[in-house]
């Protein structure tokens, strides 16, 4: 049985090796892509000193750029580029009569002294009588909106469950996925994408693990009891409520504009998962149950936890 299991595992591994080479992988050619794929050093600006310091390993990646928009064809002040206006994007007025205004999106890297704004994307339409300060209004409110979204923290899976043994490694893992939401803020259609980035396990016996970036993963049944990054060994028997709290990072996009980072993370908790921790007893049985039906291990014997 064990040998058969190993064979199946080998076939699966071979398949995994073959799958990626079947499709031609893209050449990672862009400056930024290449830097990320070859593992170039990553630096972050220290908020207090303003100096660049190496990013701690395991830091949750955030969008390194900041964004803004300008009215399409606007040259500044009251001046507009007339030839540009002639081919300006048409924003259809919305059903509720709100007037659409085309904007161009700009971005620049945060953390670079003197960085200039450069074209990012657009034009897209905004629907507001004062589009100039719409984004700050949305930005000020987005985090509250984000935290109030019905984001699913993910399911908690324990191996073994619902019963496990005292002192044994119980493998816990989360099943959390990216989620998307469409909300309306200040009359604009705002699309929110929430991505799980960090996990905190409260094992219910006073032990809290995290926040840390691993959601863990399933173990094949013949390896249950092994220690994993997210496993836990209960020191005492009893019933425990395990709570997973997942931190999500979000982006929001206004009327199909670029995805803008939502500052901070949203914390969402999964419903508690009950687990019963039992103790195991090892006994040697030598009685003949026919001769002594009350002997240890015989059907007539008293059993206990």
């Amino acid at each position: 049985m064990k040998a058969l299991g190993l064979k199946v595992l080998c076939v699966a591994t071979l398949l995994l090796v073959f799958a990626p080479s079947a499709a031609q992988a893209d050449v990672s050619i862009g400056y930024e892509d290449r830097g990320l794929s070859v593992g170039a050093d990553q630096w972050v600006k220290d908020a207090s000193t303003g100096k660049l310091v190496r990013a701690e390993p395991g830091t949750v990646p955030t969008d390194p750029n900041e964004y803004k928009y300008e009215l399409q064809c606007h040259l500044g002040g009251g001046d507009f580029d007339t030839p540009c206006l002639a081919r300006q994007m048409e924003c259809k007025d919305r059903e509720d009569g709100a007037k659409g205004i085309p904007v161009m999106w700009l971005s620049r890297p945060r953390g670079v002294a003197g960085a200039v704004w450069a074209h990012h994307s657009g034009p897209t339409c905004l629907y507001d009588p004062k589009p100039e300060d719409l984004l700050p209004r949305i930005a000020a409110d987005i985090q509250k909106q984000f935290q109030n979204l019905p984001v699913n923290a993910g399911a908690v899976v324990a191996q073994p469950s619902p019963h496990t043994l005292r002192g044994a490694e119980t493998n816990f893992y989360a099943e959390a996925a990216e989620q998307q939401f469409d909300i309306t803020m200040f009359g604009q259609k705002v699309h929110v994408v929430a991505t799980p980035v960090q996990y905190t396990w409260n094992y219910g016996d006073g032990t809290v693990f995290g926040p840390q970036p691993s959601m863990g993963g399933p173990l094949p049944q013949d390896r249950w009891g092994e220690k994993t990054r997210t496993s836990h060994a209960y020191a005492s028997t009893g019933d425990f409520q395990v709570v997973l709290t997942t931190s999500f990072q979000g982006t929001y996009s206004v009327n199909s504009g670029p995805p803008l980072p939502i500052p901070g993370q949203g914390q969402f908790s999964a419903p508690p998962q009950a687990i019963s921790v039992w103790r195991s007893l090892t006994r040697n049985y030598a009685d003949d149950c026919n001769a002594n039906p009350q002997g240890q291990g015989c059907p007539g014997a008293a059993t206990g936890r």
Partner: protein, 217 residues
């Protein structure tokens, strides 16, 4: 720039006339090449243009630069030149060198020739080598790159004794297309990027070298 050069020769002749003419020229400049009032101004303009033209050395006439497209690679791409100031172990030198390094990178993207880039990149610079390898791969089998040119509008260097010299750089790269010999696309175009980088620099016997290139996140 224009008005400063114009005033010098004109002032010699007649002060009153000079003010009028210069005013007209400045206006013409604002209109962005719109036809100005011909006559007295056109003569002054040609005279005034001469000294500024001789001040900037014009390169020897060569075939015009043509960016790459679906029909073929870029032609007559200007070769980057290391400016004199970039050979000094100063903040200005480090900034001029960093600008030059990105010019050689842009040149490598556009021409497939990464020799100049290699010459100013340290052997231990992982990101530098990664970029070179990516460009070599894109340009192999008769392919070429269209786009991918790089601009560095913001460079701030820190050169202090006792610490490695480094520069903060804003790196803007245009959309990149890789074309097969028949002009078709090898893969989806890589979108334009606007990235912050930290360039670790070392001043050695041959001048500045890019020794440690990283990303600001």
């Amino acid at each position: 720039m224009t008005s400063q050069n114009l005033f010098a020769p004109l002032a010699v002749r007649s002060t009153a006339g000079a003010v009028l003419v210069a005013g007209a020229l400045v206006l013409a400049g604002c209109a962005g090449g719109a036809p100005a009032d011909p006559g007295a101004t056109s003569q002054a303009a040609t005279e005034a243009a001469t000294p500024s033209a001789s001040a900037t050395p014009t390169p020897t006439p060569s075939a015009a630069y043509k960016p790459a497209d679906a029909s073929g690679p870029a032609q007559n791409v200007p070769v980057p030149v290391l400016p004199e100031v970039a050979k000094t172990e100063t903040k200005e030198g480090a900034e001029a060198f960093t600008k030059y390094w990105y010019e050689t990178l842009s040149y490598a993207y556009e021409t497939g020739n990464s020799r100049k880039l290699e010459n100013v990149s340290g052997p231990g610079c992982v990101f530098c080598k990664g970029l070179k390898d990516g460009i070599d791969e894109a340009w192999s089998e008769g392919r070429w790159i269209s786009g991918g040119t790089i601009q560095t509008p913001a460079i701030t260097a820190t050169v202090e004794s006792g610490a490695q010299a480094h520069a903060e750089v804003q790196v803007i790269q245009a959309t990149i297309e890789i074309r097969r010999p028949d002009g078709s696309l090898l893969q989806e175009p890589t979108p334009a990027t606007n990235t912050g980088s930290r360039a670790g620099l070392t001043f050695g016997p041959t001048g500045w070298v890019m020794t440690d290139l990283g990303l600001i996140r």
